[in-house]
């Protein structure tokens, strides 16, 4: 095994982490961007390498500093974490290709170095959360991600000062969430005397009946739910996504909440074990209603939004509802659907936010009233948005359909009334999605463009990455073997197979 391959798990994190301070010192508009893109691409390459290795030879374990597992910090790349790492670094790289011209308009030039430095930290943090096998390490990486994301969101200040308040609100709520996780980890450590995830898991059954463990479960679930923007803890998300710079929104929409879903999976299935989570403390009865309310209520809210970014943000909360329901079904099929939706939604939503970013770049606003007739002013961008919208709704041949299909199959598998009700609810929510996407389409194509509006397509450096995501999403909607294959592998791994 080559040097790179043997250190792959740590390289994926170390590279962006070390590049961040370097980036902070760079001046100018192009250098920081260039460095960040190269770093992210490297990270992506390493992730691909890891995923290939994992699917060939099984999970990789890496001892940080050479200290053996229960004492030292262990990095573990198993099918699930490798898959999520690939999503994160892939989306990050795609978004960065788009970033150069887009961000120059939204952030003052002298702050670009710092901006990209924060971006790299966020990337490193998210990669760290997924790959680490150490419970406390999760908290550390989580805070690295969170702190840099508060900064990134606040950077949208130039376009809309509400970015500041949203960042602050996210800071308050996010810190509470992270601290809850910290308390939960502390309680688990108290009971097991170890921080290594595999170690905790092996000792968990013996202490599962004690009160501190129950408290730890409550703290952890709530903490993760906050970071995941699970209904009703989603209040930070719509504003944060609406007022952040376009690329930050696109990046986080595809990755940040997905990492939290990963955490939820990790704790529920790897540490607590499915039997404890759903048999003993019956988490499904908590997660299921929240998920259902999320996709019904938040889709409804999305219909009435006047800002497209905010509309998509609410739709994200709704989509997270689907993932929550998939987890709460507590079956392998449901789990597969959830993991698949992590991937599919990430790619679709990123594409959508990027195309909205193009509109903002040209029209200067994401409010519907400013986007009238945008279909004739920016035909390519708008068409991309429509295609992405179709994917979001779940029209066949799109990834949205594939994951919804799996989810519906998973609910019908129950064969009881609840299964049918859930299916009906999902169909209803898809109808709502049709409505909110249609609202944008209506404004874009059926309203006359203002007389003074110039007809100008977004520059190619924005259009091409957008279309990469749009076409990519259709590719994975038709050629489903890759994403479905990995999702199934990850699901069966979590359920204790493999």
């Amino acid at each position: 095994m080559s040097l790179v391959a043997s250190h792959a798990p740590v390289l994926a994190i170390i590279i962006p982490l070390l590049a961040a301070p370097v980036c902070a010192m760079l001046r100018g508009t192009t250098f920081p961007w260039f460095l960040t893109t190269v770093i992210s691409a490297l990270s992506f390459a390493v992730s691909v390498q890891i995923l290939l290795t994992v699917s060939d030879t099984g999970p990789i374990s890496y001892m940080l500093g050479g200290w053996a597992a229960p004492w030292g910090i262990e990095y573990v790349a198993d099918p699930l974490s490798a898959f999520v790492m690939l999503i994160i670094s892939g989306i990050s790289t795609g978004v960065l290709l788009y970033a150069r011209e887009s961000i120059a308009k939204e952030v003052p030039p002298h702050q670009l170095g710092l901006f990209f430095s924060a971006y790299l930290l966020a990337l490193a943090g998210m990669m760290g959360i997924t790959v680490t096998g150490d419970a406390f390490n999760i908290f550390v990486f989580l805070e690295i991600t969170s702190l840099s994301s508060y900064v990134l969101i606040a950077m949208g200040e130039k376009a809309d000062r509400r970015a500041l308040t949203s960042a602050f609100q996210y800071l308050i709520i996010g810190t509470i969430g992270a601290t809850f996780i910290l308390i939960g980890v502390g309680l688990l450590y108290m009971m097991t005397g170890t921080l290594n995830i595999a170690d905790i898991a092996s000792r968990f059954d013996a202490i599962a009946d004690t009160r501190p463990v129950r408290a730890a479960v409550a703290f952890l679930i709530i903490g993760i739910a906050i970071k995941l923007a699970m209904f009703p803890f989603h209040v930070w998300l719509p504003n944060a996504y609406s007022y952040a710079p376009s690329i930050v929104t696109a990046f986080f929409a595809g990755t940040a909440t997905k990492v939290s879903v990963y955490l939820l999976l990790r704790f529920i299935f790897t540490i607590f074990g499915a039997e404890f989570s759903f048999g003993v403390v019956s988490l499904s009865e908590l997660l299921m209603p929240l998920g259902v309310i999320a996709f019904l209520s938040m889709s409804t809210v999305a219909i009435f939004q006047t800002n497209v970014k905010r509309l998509l943000a609410f739709s994200s909360v709704a989509q997270l509802g689907y993932m929550t329901v998939g987890i709460a079904l507590a079956s392998e099929a449901g789990l597969t659907a959830s993991i698949l939706h992590i991937f599919n939604h990430a790619i679709v939503k990123t594409g959508l936010f990027l195309s909205v970013g193009c509109m903002v770049f040209v029209a200067g606003s994401a409010y519907l009233k400013d986007l009238e007739g945008i279909g004739s002013r920016m035909p390519l961008t708008t068409f991309g948005f429509v295609l992405g919208g179709l994917a979001l709704i779940g029209v066949p041949l799109t990834p949205g359909f594939v994951s919804k299909w799996y989810l519906v199959m998973a609910t019908l598998e129950r064969g009881d009334f609840l299964g049918y009700a859930l299916t009906a609810g999902m169909l209803l929510s898809s109808l709502l999605a049709v409505i909110y996407i249609w609202r944008v389409v209506e404004v874009a194509y059926f309203r006359p463009a203002p007389a003074d509006a110039e007809a100008r397509e977004a520059p190619l450096s924005l259009l091409i990455p957008t279309w990469i995501f749009i076409i990519g999403s259709f590719y994975f909607g038709i050629q489903t073997t890759v994403n479905v294959g990995f999702a199934e592998k990850a699901a069966s791994f979590l359920m204790g197979g493999l």
């Binding site: 406390f136 550390v140 200040e157 500041l164 308040t165 509470i176 992270a178 601290t179």
Partner: protein
């Protein structure tokens, strides 16, 4: 008395609640930050208590002694990281408050929300 057995844990819980209550009841952003810090600090206390072992001494090897009980140093080390995180959070939060004051001219959340609605 069970209360006094777990004295420091009770303090942790009470501090935690005071912190959370401050965050939820105050509209002044600075006061919110104070509440948040208090909330975080209570967790430091929790971790530190966790590492303390009855009759334990500081985890420094005592030459030659046989049955010395050491406190567990790991939680203390861990919490150093958390303290750093807390400091960073507070610093970032306060700097955001400064920018909010510059931008909105107020640091009262209710006022800011009212202004946003009008905008």
């Amino acid at each position: 008395m069970i209360f006094f057995d777990h004295f420091n844990y009770w303090i942790f819980v009470i501090l935690l609640m005071i912190g959370l209550f401050t965050v939820m009841s105050r509209t002044n952003l600075i006061k919110k930050m104070i509440g948040l810090s208090l909330f975080q600090i209570s967790v430091f206390l929790f971790y530190i208590s966790m590492g303390k072992i009855d009759e334990g001494t500081a985890p420094i090897v005592v030459e030659g002694a046989q049955d010395v009980v050491y406190s567990n140093p790991l939680p203390h080390v861990l919490i150093l990281t958390a303290i750093v995180v807390g400091v960073a959070t507070t610093a970032l939060g306060l700097s955001l408050v400064v920018r909010i004051k510059e931008s909105f001219g107020t640091i009262d959340e209710e006022d800011i929300l009212a202004r946003e609605d009008k905008a």
